[in-house]
Point group: C2
Chain length 353, copies 2
């Protein structure tokens, strides 16, 4: 168009509701994108703090310290037993905030959609995000939507960033570890990874596998409210429990040891792992964390955690043997033999979150 032949684009485009699939124009900033936002995204995320007429949300955070984090989600498939990419994106970022002891307050959401993806799937994801946000008591206040050409994405990728407030004076860091500290894991391990794996490969196991995907802010807040003073917490996502503890050990310059038989693993996960030759200690979780704290707080921490349904299987699995040393995670197997666990090179399952 020249400036003097300017038109308003194709006459009367179909509203988004009648477009069954995502089109490039849904990310173009024009009428179709406005329809997409107005029909699907704004209604689902409506809340008092949300921006609709500008590109930033205005917050009024209490004074003090805040936590800020980001995570992108590329899980395949989009929908899996126990969750979907939307629930995962909300819980994952809530959990990153929770692991520094923050109370999560606000989330942003960025969608990268692939041309040709069903609009109804977007509705499902958005509804799932809203439900997960409500459950975790966080508000989704700002967002962005981009569309990429067919063959340059995989249906949907989601980024969530989060802001929370620190209502305590603790500095949670692996550097704070002390000899004798106890290691607690909040639940059984490996469920998320094996549920995604079974959905991806179309495997049916005797016992159903469901992701453990859950927000962990409430049990962490309960822990702090009960006067526990964790040295460090870590959610056991990519790379599983072993990777989380190895990171803590290396960063903190500490020798940790866990007891193999103490680590909870469901029969379903154990069976699937054995069949596929995988190690549940390295399989991703999305609703499970490890916490290290002083030994005299272990019982109190377990009592408090177990009150939360997501942490009902919380258990003491090991301890800090030595600090100011070379960071290592030791593993005691059923025969009482100790061995060092190391990072895997990559991960057993790509695109798990």
């Amino acid at each position: 168009m020249s400036a003097d032949e300017r038109e308003s684009g194709p006459a009367c485009p179909l509203p988004v509701a009648s477009s069954a699939t995502i089109r490039l124009a849904h990310g173009g900033g024009g009428r179709l994108m406005h329809d997409l936002l107005q029909d699907i995204i704004w209604p689902a995320f409506a809340n008092p703090a949300a921006e609709t007429d500008c590109d930033s949300a205005t917050l009024c955070l209490p004074p003090g310290r805040q936590a800020f984090t980001t995570d992108s989600f590329v899980v395949r498939p989009t929908f899996f037993p126990g969750g979907d990419i939307g629930k995962l994106a909300v819980c994952g970022t809530v959990n990153d905030l929770a692991m520094v002891g923050a109370r999560p307050l606000y989330l942003s959401v960025g969608f990268i959609l692939e041309e040709g993806w069903p609009v109804d799937d977007l509705r499902r994801v958005v509804a799932s995000m809203r439900a997960a946000a409500d459950a975790a008591q966080v508000q989704i206040v700002t967002g962005d939507t981009k569309v990429v050409d067919h063959g340059k994405g995989d249906g949907i990728y989601v980024n969530t960033s989060g802001v929370g407030v620190l209502e305590h004076d603790l500095t949670l860091t692996p550097a704070a570890l002390q000899p004798g500290d106890v290691i607690i894991v909040s639940g059984d391990v490996g469920r998320h990874g094996m549920a995604v794996m079974s959905a991806r490969e179309g495997l049916a196991f005797e016992q159903a596998l469901e992701s453990d995907c859950a927000a962990l802010a409430a049990p962490v807040q309960a822990l702090l409210a009960a006067g526990c003073t964790p040295r460090v917490m870590r959610d056991c996502t990519r790379g599983g429990l072993a990777t989380a503890l190895i990171e803590i050990a290396r960063t903190g310059g500490a020798r940790l040891r866990i007891e193999g038989r103490a680590v909870p693993v469901t029969a379903a996960v154990r069976g699937a792992c054995e069949l596929l030759g995988m190690d549940p200690l390295y399989v991703a979780n999305e609703g499970c964390f490890c916490v290290v704290l002083p030994p005299d707080q272990a019982e109190r921490a377990l009592t408090v955690l177990r009150r939360d349904p997501a942490c009902a299987r919380a258990v003491h699995i090991g301890e800090v043997l030595e600090t100011q040393t070379r960071g290592q995670l030791w593993y005691r197997n059923e025969l009482g033999v100790d061995r060092i666990l190391d990072w895997l090179s990559g991960e057993q399952l790509p695109r798990i979150c």
Copy 2:
């Protein structure tokens, strides 16, 4: 692996520096991912507030109101005249914060990398982000990296979210428009879109086309410091100047009018647009915004804005004719004929940012 045959993965994997391309394992949470972070990402973004040993950054924001925003970037190609996806991602989010009058402080960055993409390109993008962040006086404090299979991405997608502080009491909203308010555009329009287009299509024009990609926080802060009280500001990204003003008009229920001959367009952009049949008013910018303010502030605003190199061509292009009415953007052409401008259905150029 069974629990009793656990190994530490392939012995002594190559450090990331010697891997020429991104591999799925770079996103797996294990050793290769740690190497990628340690070799490339943490050194580039190092700053006092950055998290390296946990998944959230701890901030200490001044009391008052804050702004929070997010944007994903999927521009194709990754590198274009005048910028790249990294500079764009920093400037874009800085500008979203600037448009509500916030002083941008902290950014997060989320990478979605495609298997097989050159690691050296990641180095370039990361260095460009650091330079853009330094120039805009923001700190990149938290991040995340995911890798998707070859054929499920397009080299790199970047999400940046941002937190800033509001150091004024204004509420910038289209609802604040008053009849007689003036409309200023901060620079010439259409450069980003046409530069990306020329790079994408391998077009060579007589005059070089460079993106206007730039951070706008400094000129906006200068405007506020000079006592200007904008009603509303909007950066002219996807959909260009026309789409930004149509959104303002519709949201604010106001009739705006701009003068076609007042809108600055470089000869290079004009020539390229004529050749390709595009309208510069609808072509994306990444370093250009429009601001509406009371008429008695127009001269002061222009003087202040023009001191900033990114806004040297700032000019008065129109006014608010009427409020509390049906929101419309009118355009007066060279012959003095007025016409309504409407949203395009999508956008003339997909994947421009």
